[in-house]
Symmetry: D2
Subunit: 161 residues, 4 copies
């Protein structure tokens, strides 16, 4: 089994610009995290885009969907901003019936030293190997079916509908 | 579903004694790690012992087994030193038929800032929710059946027999 | 010799709000940093304000000046945002003739795990014990006299006029 | 002013061997720390040896002394294990009269994420620029004259004789 990790941006990969004091995207940290986690599952990391998920358009979702459909791998992890993660999950669940896709992200950037992203990546790596075909969100140690999840904006937590 | 995390020691929880320069056990960091990972799966953490797994005796394994058998939870994660992790896995697989038990650990202490333990804990949390009844080792993003795993002492990596 | 550390805010103490994705002030991390550094110099930490230095007003500078003048300590470290740090240094150098005052800060928040603030705090602690009376800025391992320093906004570095 | 940083080993630079569980020396982290601290003082780092200071011999101290005497720089920081740091300080204070030498170290390895070494390096960088000629130990934010310092082995703290 080979895993494709598709990077699309989100808090996961944000960095701090020390001249402006703002957060921005540079490179993805996913490969560094896999190395730190001593991951030995065969994995290919591909950066498709680096976007704040609030700025993600329908065209972006089509691009993600097409990439997932055309990839040779049947087990895919997508890193994604949390704000519209549930929208992308629902979109993909209609378009990609025959693969196991786990969408994950973080509330705190990995580079800020206290990130939940590292824990989430570990659980996404396990869920993608064990869950049946379908599209899921993996956050906070839990997994949710694409059709049955939303982000609670008040406390930043994913929950069933 | 409620998860029991049973702490038994291992590199996972070692700390640095700044007066002697040696590694030692104080308290487990598992609860702190779950908080950092924003874990929301219902979880009980219990410290059963704090042992280097090279020092783990048959009596220790009986104690772990008895605790697993008598616990009300059917989904159990055990944190454990890597050196004899495969021995404990085999022992438990004979004694505890009806539960999903995931044994995990780390090559580097969590407190040393570059630990694989945080990633492993994330994957163990996912495997324990999704794998069928049985005893498994979860390391390096992978899982192994208790009957079919050993630690390769030369490179520190778990592999199938 | 007792050192007063006067906290006024700045990047040094900023944290990440995981619900809004913005940076904000909560509590100062200076005491935690002194503990991590195993500091044994007798030190009192006082949080006077928590401000982005771009928002610092003349009234704020008067408040800082009055507090320094009235404090019993003759050796004072001030943590301060870098953008107007040179302005505050010049203001204090006119108002407070008889004390050694070291103003320091950071380009990256301490909580982001890659902060220059910890290094700067160590050097400020040394400079405040060894420099003659006067007001100085300590950044990047260097010290500058209040009358002869500016922040180069293009590269984020302090330099002599 | 150019600073020479002479690396001799000590806890400062120890790393964790994940196969044996023991601490060992690989490369010095001083250059990485200077970069992290955004140090801009002109500095040359030279690794002379990588030794646990309990294993440091008279021949090693002669080597350090010769290197300090023959270096073109008049301001020198030495990183050194804490156990025999006071011995080396006394030795150098007799041999090297005309330079400012600051010996510093750490109780916890830099790589273990909670190191006092980064704070000490910041203070050493300041002390070396401001103290008069002589040999000093800089630890815990303080500085001590070579003739008047010892390590209290019970609490790991440097103190005056």
């Amino acid at each position: 089994m080979e895993i494709l990790i598709l990077v699309t941006g989100g808090t996961f990969d944000k960095e701090y610009n020390e001249l402006t004091g703002e957060l921005f995207f540079k490179d993805s940290h996913v490969s560094e995290m896999l190395k730190l986690g001593r991951n030995l599952v065969k994995t290919t990391v591909h950066t498709l885009m680096m976007k704040d998920s609030l700025n993600m358009t329908d065209a972006d979702r089509r691009l993600i969907s097409t990439f997932c459909a055309e990839s040779k791998q049947e087990h895919i992890i997508i890193t994604h901003g949390t704000d519209t993660m549930a929208d992308t999950a629902r979109y993909l669940s209609k378009e990609i019936p025959g693969k196991t896709i786990i969408i994950t992200g973080a509330m705190v950037p990995y580079k800020f030293g206290s990130s939940d992203g590292f824990f989430n990546l570990g659980s996404a790596m396990a869920f993608v190997q064990t869950l049946p075909k379908g599209v899921y969100i993996a956050m906070n140690g839990k997994y949710f079916h694409a059709a049955n999840v939303r982000k609670n904006k008040e406390n930043g937590v994913f929950e069933e509908l």
